[in-house]
């Protein structure tokens, strides 16, 4: 009745649950017995009508003391033995264990297989075969916890730690990080897929994703990221630099910084400016405008962006945005969904959040119909007209306290697309 433990999905789980319920029942029994005795004594020997009755001066009994010292000791030895025995089983080094390297990093898990396959946040193992995770952290302490397998082990930056389990049931199992590791500690999750041997073999050798990635040159991958991550919203390719430095002929250039010093734009400067933009702001550009991308871009994505920036030696006309999706699919979607698709494609996401937090522009959460004060002090209501105007000619009525950093989308968005976006904004509560 009291069993709230997750499903038993590993060889050791049944033993652990047996020991757990043994201790549980012993605890319940002794608690009920002792507290029951106390309550019974309290009621049976309560002081009646305010006068203390005679009580015997019993000061102790060596026999009783011996009993309730030996009995708990015996129980403790019994439980301790099983605790150690099952732990030894849990830590047993098995011969044909499937070894997987696990890398913990602030707020994600990376997995590497012997075959060279690499994945993030999910990993596959064949059923009924012992698994050995060899784990290390790239920054702070983390801890790999598989509730269904009843195993857990801290992941240290200073040494490799091993975690053993043998899955006995196929299925998808939740993995948690259980050693506090900072802001997104509660978001550092992973999923374990226990599958049949055949499906596992297919998955491990399926390297299509990596091959596709490797055939693309870093610069091309950088360009895709340039659009995907929203850099194109401020860093232009046609040489114009209204809000942020243009990427054209940027690499190797000597830039005057806001604090008077100067720096040559090399890989280190670019990496630092991507992760911590406010560290070295170029003179003439507004500070704390560009969101920090730390934790959102991996090292190889940064290298791809740097390769792309290096390749921009001549000014290029604005590339057409990503190929427009075929109209048939678009028609099928509701206006709000189309609006949400545009919200991501047109990289409004980079500056306008949906959860109320402020990145660069006002958050879209509950924006539709909200009263706003704009820089001229005038009070306006965010209705269809205001939003349409702010999209097409964004510098017209900027909300107080926000930088005039939004590029004008005049000529890049059709009226239908604008009304789709407005429909989408209505749904963001």
């Amino acid at each position: 009745m009291f069993n709230f433990m997750p499903e038993q999905a590993s060889e050791i789980a049944s033993n652990i649950d047996w020991l757990n319920s043994l201790i549980l029942w012993l605890s319940v029994f002794f608690t009920v017995a002792i507290v029951g005795a106390m309550v019974y004594f309290a009621v049976r020997y309560r002081r009646r009508d305010g006068v203390d009755h005679e009580t015997p001066r019993i000061e102790g009994s060596n026999a009783l003391e011996a009993v309730w010292t030996i009995v708990p000791t015996v129980i403790c030895v019994f439980i301790a033995y099983y605790g150690v025995a099952f732990y030894a089983q849990m830590r047993e080094e098995k011969a044909n264990a499937l070894e997987i390297n696990v890398w913990a990093q602030k707020w994600k898990w990376d997995f590497e297989y012997a075959s060279g396959k690499k994945t993030t946040a999910e990993f596959y193992v064949p059923v009924n075969r012992p698994v050995k995770l060899i784990m290390k952290s790239r920054d702070v302490l983390h801890s790999f916890f598989l509730p269904a397998m009843r195993v857990k082990r801290d992941v240290l930056p200073s040494a490799y730690n091993a975690l053993y389990f043998t899955p006995i049931k196929t299925g998808v199992y939740q993995t948690f990080c259980t050693e506090y590791c900072g802001m997104e500690h509660s978001g550092m999750l992973a999923t374990l897929h226990v599958v049949s041997q055949a499906e596992y073999d297919r998955w491990v050798n399926d390297r299509s994703e990596e091959i596709a990635l490797s055939r693309v040159t870093p610069a091309e991958r950088g360009e895709k990221l340039y659009n995907q991550k929203g850099c194109n919203a401020c860093h232009k390719l046609d040489g114009s630099s209204a809000i942020a430095p243009s990427f054209v002929k940027l690499f190797g250039r000597n830039e005057q910084l806001a604090d008077g010093t100067s720096v040559t734009v090399d890989e280190n400067y670019l990496q630092e400016s991507i992760l911590h933009p406010n560290a070295k702001i170029v003179k003439g550009y507004p500070p704390n405008l560009m969101p920090a991308f730390e934790g959102q871009v991996s090292d190889d994505e940064i290298q791809a962006l740097e390769a792309f920036i290096k390749s921009l030696t001549t000014a290029k006309q604005e590339q057409a945005a990503a190929a427009p999706a075929d109209p048939a699919a678009l028609a099928g979607m509701s206006p709000a969904d189309r609006g949400k698709k545009l919200y991501n494609e047109k990289v409004c996401v980079t500056c306008h959040s949906l959860d109320g937090s402020r990145i660069v522009g006002p958050s879209f959460k509950g924006v539709y119909g909200r009263k706003q004060k704009i820089t001229t002090g005038q009070e306006i209501v965010a209705d269809d007209a205001y939003i349409k105007e702010s999209i097409l000619n964004s510098a017209a009525k900027v909300v107080e306290g926000y930088p005039p950093a939004m590029p004008a989308y005049q000529g890049q968005l059709s009226d239908a697309e604008v009304s789709d976006i407005i429909e989408f904004l209505k749904t963001v509560k």
Binding site: N101, E112, A114, S115, G116, K132, I134, Y160, A162
Partner: protein, 113 residues
């Protein structure tokens, strides 16, 4: 456990240790310092640290027993003089049954792609 108020041993408050004992103890301490330096110049491998610690402990005991009058103190002071040594040994023991016996696993060297 005696709870007599004053711990006097007949001569005023505390036990008086004659100056002659101090002179002998000081001479021994200087001698032991020379010994510990001399031993350290000879390479005895892992035994060096053991000898160094033994000599240091002898010196420490001499200072404690005579200079600090521990030899003439009541048992209570002995308890609070040696209990911290026991706790320090526990901390060292706890650390040294952990680090040297960890058998960290070798990482999987993924074949170069």
């Amino acid at each position: 456990m005696s709870h007599s108020h004053s711990d006097s041993h007949g001569q005023g408050l505390g036990h008086i240790v004659p100056a002659s004992i101090f002179k002998k103890v000081f001479a021994t301490l200087v001698f032991l310092t020379i010994v510990t330096v001399a031993v350290s110049l000879v390479d005895l491998g892992s035994m060096n640290i053991v000898v160094a610690m033994l000599v240091a402990s002898c010196k420490a005991l001499l200072v404690a027993l005579f200079f600090m009058h521990l030899k003439y103190e009541n048992p209570l002071t002995w308890v609070y003089a040696f209990f911290p040594i026991l706790l320090l040994a526990t901390l060292l023991g706890g650390v040294f049954i952990d680090n040297p016996m960890r058998h960290a696993p070798a990482p999987l060297s993924a074949p170069a792609k």
